[in-house]
């Protein structure tokens, strides 16, 4: 891990070397929460959901963290496949490359989640801030897994980006914030969304949602680790 940490720092710098990327990583969560959330209460009502405005606002923070982290994880693999293989061949090994990548992805995901959480807290206040913070970061962790999985198997960057958009759309439209239809209760962020909605509305959550969200997030991170390893391993 001590060898992987400096490499993780370098991987973070690699993605944030463009100042605009860093600015957008901060601006988009703020934008989603402040502007989009101001209209999301009416929007969710029109879509047949049953959310109060404050809960609808909370969910926008999760969406922002999810999309930004998923896209980032996809580009981490897609843009760096060649460099990662060379790093692995040069002695770091695919496992340490994968660990470094996932630490970098989690660091950026944590930053985006923190920005979204703070904006939400300042704008609306949160009844259960700790629950909300965990839920927002869970969104980010789940999408790191989704983005990395797509990146491991889809080489083209256009098709990979469109796949992230498609999965995000399916997830968002099927979430509890948008529909009361229980038939589509198997989307990846459903438990995290339940946690966030409850926290936004000042309520606690049942143990089932916590276990479900933790299980999906851990599975997603395991998938991400496997995907980063798969992309960095040597082909003979």
């Amino acid at each position: 891990m001590s060898e992987a940490l400096p490499i993780s720092t370098a991987f973070v710098r690699e993605h944030l070397r463009a100042p605009l990327t860093l600015a957008l990583l901060v601006a988009i969560p703020v934008f989603f929460v402040l502007i989009f959330a101001s209209v999301l209460g009416d929007f969710a009502e029109a879509l047949g959901g049953t959310l109060a405005s404050q809960s609808a606002t909370a969910i926008s923070a999760g969406w922002a963290a999810a999309f930004l982290s998923g896209t980032l994880a996809f580009f981490q693999i897609s843009s760096s496949r060649g460099a990662d293989r060379r790093l692995a061949l040069a002695g770091l090994g695919p496992v340490r490359v994968a660990l470094s990548r996932i630490v970098a992805a989690l660091a950026i995901g944590l930053t985006v989640s923190a920005v979204a959480f703070l904006t939400l807290w300042i704008r609306s206040g949160i009844g259960h801030p700790f629950h909300a913070a965990v839920a927002i970061f869970t969104f980010a962790a789940i999408y790191i897994g989704i983005g990395a999985l797509i990146g491991a198997f889809v080489k083209g960057q256009l098709e990979g980006s469109l796949l992230v958009v498609l999965i995000f759309s399916v997830d968002a439209f099927s979430g509890p914030q948008m529909t009361s239809n229980g038939l589509v209760a198997v989307t990846p962020t459903r438990n995290a969304a339940n946690l966030l909605i409850a926290a936004g509305g000042g309520q606690g959550s049942p143990g089932g949602d916590w276990i479900g969200a933790a299980a999906v997030a851990l599975a997603a991170l395991a998938v991400a680790l496997a995907a980063f390893w798969f992309a960095a391993r040597t082909r003979l």
Binding site: F31, E45, S79, G156, Q157, L158, E159, L162, L166
Partner: protein, 248 residues
Amino acid sequence: MPARARTATAMAFRDQLRRPLVLVLMMIVPAYVITRSIAETLPTPRQIVLPGEIVVTTTMQDLHGAGMGGLVVAFVVALVGVFVMQSALEGDRRLVLAGFRPGETVLARLLVLICATALVVAVSVLVTALNFSAASWPPVIGALVLIGLIYGAIGALAGAVLDKLAATYLILFLVFTDLGVVQNPMFHTTPGRFADLLPGYGPSRVMYDGAFSAEFHAGSDLLLGLGWLVVLGLAVFFVQRRAVRAAT
């Protein structure tokens, strides 16, 4: 069209066609998002003001039907713009070194972008028509084409000057701000004070006018949208031509 430009165009199309997943996703993403958004929306009454101060009472469901096509077309075509132009920067520099004129290679990529716009708009119109009846389809279709070309040009510019990740984030930010919130009559009866400074203002006014009125009232909005298209189209041509030439 000179033989070299024809060759560059044929190669640019072949480059896209050898990746069938792109074509499939360019159809599935709009089809899914439009169908699902209309299906999930309740017919809650909503009053909006069209160009020419025409007041119309409609429903949130119909507003979603009318507007979601524009949002999806903008997002998908802008992403195509980002990546078509990024791959052009890599491959077309070699073509220029081999004797092609920079303008010929850029023209080939622009034709790919125009065809991508046509495909995404065609799917969006078809899917929208299955779920929503516009009062007048020609302005709606024209506006969707205009939105696609404007945002395709913005994506191409972003792809030419920014890193892929930054370009993707910028597109997300711009499309959702402009078409998703500021121009969207689900949230505002009329677009806000500074809405006309954004590129989606003209075409989205034309789109909603066609969706809810059998008569056309959005001539000035159409001209504004065409103005954006001309300026952005020229900017893409010159920026991309310079980028391809700069490496030689």
